[in-house]
């Protein structure tokens, strides 16, 4: 496949973030200047205001709004924290520095803006996401979780000191960490024609060793369990900007299913955000059907697993027949299997037999 060059969108997006942060500052400034208590309106994130939208195939916030008004004695502190967080985010973004949620919590103290605890500071960051419609990674605030990517994709850094430098993501066999530098990179070119997301590090390493990226022309993404938001956004960018289909391999249990589902349709916690989902990604396995068809070694479903399956059965994201069918089979067989279960047929069986079959089945 021919390498393709892609249009840069990263710098534009950063500009958009800066503009909306400054607009928020200006709005607050103007209200004060006119002699009003500043206030801000944002969509309510309470559970009653979270709906599943079948059109965009993710959770969204409804019409209900909350107003945070500095006139209100209970609002003024969080409002101040919100303005401070916006200022801090603008400084991060404009100086192209990154920080973690923990950093934010401690940085506040330098401005005599003590947060009660990490949770309070996290909540304010989520508020800022809701107000501006950007996710915290856009403000260069990252969580501690890390995942990795491996495959023939050349990226170009935009972080200070690395601007213009390129890297091919096959250059390190452990994969390249999906951190702030990578998520803010431009995609230069790729020969891959698909993305394969894998839940577990063991299988990811096996895939690299078995040259899955070459044999299947794939970019491999390790989610390390539930995919971090930066990783979900990264998978989305791979599918949108490079126009690649995505396949997700997880354990054959309700938790694995849900890892795939969150990549596809997002979570209720991120209902205020867009661009974290990859609605066209496919969950390729391990299905309950696969457990039966491949006669995989299994463990019995425990109580929590069964309870979770019943929850998922009612979840609007799961109303697609495939999901419903698999949930029913899980419940019927009462068994679950891990990805490693394929090793009973030899270490390479999963790559030689299972993977091609499933890619074909779900493409």
């Amino acid at each position: 496949m021919e390498p393709r060059k892609h249009k840069s969108i990263i710098m534009e997006r950063k500009k958009g973030v800066l503009t909306s942060l400054e607009a928020f500052g200006l709005k607050t400034y103007e209200q004060l200047n006119m002699g009003y208590f500043p206030s801000i309106e944002m969509p309510s994130r309470s559970t009653e205001n979270i709906y599943y939208d079948p059109q965009v195939r993710q959770y969204i916030l409804g019409d209900r709004k909350v107003r945070r008004n500095a006139r209100n004695i209970r609002h003024i502190r969080p409002f101040t924290q919100l303005v401070w967080t916006a200022l801090f985010s603008r400084e991060l973004t404009s100086q192209r520095k990154t920080s973690t949620l923990r950093d934010v919590y401690y940085s506040a103290q330098a401005y005599e803006m003590k947060f009660k605890d990490q949770q309070e500071s996290n909540n304010i960051i989520t508020d800022l996401e809701t107000v501006l419609g950007f996710s915290r990674e856009d403000f260069n605030i990252f969580p501690e979780e890390r995942s990795a990517v491996f495959g023939d994709l050349t990226i170009e850094y935009t972080v200070p000191g690395y601007e213009g430098k390129t890297l091919n993501l096959t250059s390190h066999p452990d994969g390249v960490m999906i951190g702030p530098a990578l998520t803010s990179s431009e995609f230069v070119n790729t020969t891959a024609d698909k993305v394969i997301a894998i839940e577990k590090g063991g299988l990811f390493t096996r895939f690299v060793e078995e040259n899955v990226h070459k044999k299947f022309n794939a970019i491999l993404v390790l989610t390390s369990g539930q995919a971090p938001r930066a990783t979900r956004h990264f998978i989305r960018r791979l599918t949108r900007e490079l126009d690649l289909p995505a396949y997700i391999f997880t354990d054959g249990d309700p938790w694995g299913m849900h890892i795939a589902m969150v990549i596809i349709s997002g979570s209720a916690n991120a209902a205020h955000l867009r661009e974290l989902t990859t609605p066209d990604a496919k969950w390729s396995g391990v299905w309950a059907t696969d457990i039966v068809n491949y006669k995989l070694p299994t463990d019995p479903l425990d109580e929590v697993d069964i309870k979770r399956l019943h929850e998922l059965q009612r979840d609007p994201r799961y109303k697609d027949p495939l999901w419903q069918r698999e949930i029913k089979i899980f419940l019927k067989i009462g068994r679950k299997a891990e990805q490693e279960a394929f090793s009973r047929y030899g270490l390479t069986y999963i790559v030689d037999e299972y993977l091609p079959a499933k890619l074909e089945e779900t493409s």
Binding site: F24, T28, Y29, L32, A70, R77, F79, T80, V83
Partner: protein
Amino acid sequence: MAKTTFEEISAADFFYRNRDLAGFTNPSRAIFAAVRELVENSLDAAESLKIPPDVYVRLSYADDAGEERNVYRLRVEDNGIGVPPRHIPSAFGQVLYGSKYNPKQQRGTFGLGGKMAILYGQITTHQPARVISSTGKSKIYMYKLMIDIQRNRPLILDRRVLINKEQWRGTIVEFSLEGDYFRAMPKILEYFKQTAMVNPYANLTFVDPKGRLYKFTRITEKMPDAPKETLPHPYGVDVELLQRLIHVTSYRSMLEFLQKHFHRIGEITAKKFLEFSIISPSKNPKKLSHREVVRLMRMMKKFKGFLPPNASCLSPLGEELLKAGVLKELQPEFVAVHQRKPSAYAGHPFIVEVAIAYGGEIPKKGSFLIHRFANRIPLLYDEASDVSTIVINSMNWRRYKVTPDMPIAIAVHICSTKIPYKTVGKEFIADRPEIRREIANALRGVARRLQRFLTRREHASRELKRLDIFSQYLPKIAKFSTQLAGKEKNPDIEKLLRSVKRFGT
């Protein structure tokens, strides 16, 4: 059969044998009781002249005794009315002799306390007491006395007369006694402190055996009105009293007899009562038979038409003095005082005064600090059995937003011509429904005012906090938003800050 002997014992002998009754239970209690009885006599002596009392008390080790023997010398000096010379021997050397038997409010009631102290000193040390007194005239009289216990008579060992060049007036009593000051010390000091609280017009000085000086200085010269002597109230009389009155009366008709010898009986009331009890108004009281006297007493208790005793015979401290005393000795942040209208139980008038104090120097101890007073005497023992404690503990304090962990002191003062003490030791007051009701009502009144104070204070502190939050955060919003918007000059927020200030803060 054993031979039983009957003998009459004197009053002094009786109390010698039953000194527990008067509070001289053990060496620690005894020294406390001795100090207390003499101080109270001194306060009464000054108040009866309506002059602010100066009482000086010195307790020292007796000259001939080491510390381990626990023999002390007690000297109490006052600026009171003084005792006329011919009464000195009996007043200090004869039990149940005294000036305190008419119905008017006084600290002592039995004429017993001071003499009990001297008697106790005599039986523990066998030393005479020294009494020096002058009524402010040209001479000072000095007596050395002992009590002949079996005969209840004073024994005068020495008598001297001095020229009163400085026109000194007052009384000095000095005697030795056995005791245990160091165990009694907390109570004695507490006694002085509380006495100072309800006698804010008195100077009290106490020098203890270690030479430590405790001084309680008056903050006012103002004194409560002295009580007037009154006639007995018909509800409170017994047959014996009726017989005595009949014996001494010079009136020849029941109508006059009732009006002249009883409290709150005028002509109309007397007529109504006589009609009620079917006694002829013209009947000569001296002609009443023994049975008729008993019946008269019963009818007096039954008749509903007597006015309650009035309080002219009482001398409450008054709200102003009580407040001053509490402020002086407790130094609270807040105090509310309340004096109830006079009331009566069994024909004895009484007035309840209460104070509730909050904060300041009052310690938090997990329960209220209760100060009980009767006729301006602090009551320090048997707190749990006292009517005030019972009322305080049964009140629903939560209704007043008051909890026991708050620094709160409560003072209850009951004054009466007859305080219903449970013991001769005068330590706690019996639970009479009339008294209980008055205390409860008085406490409710001050508790409501404390609640208002607490509510206002809480409101003010909440308001202050509110303002503090605005003035803390608004400038920050201004600063951050200015930087965020890339502006130079911070917006003016003074007007906004002024607008959050509510009226009155």
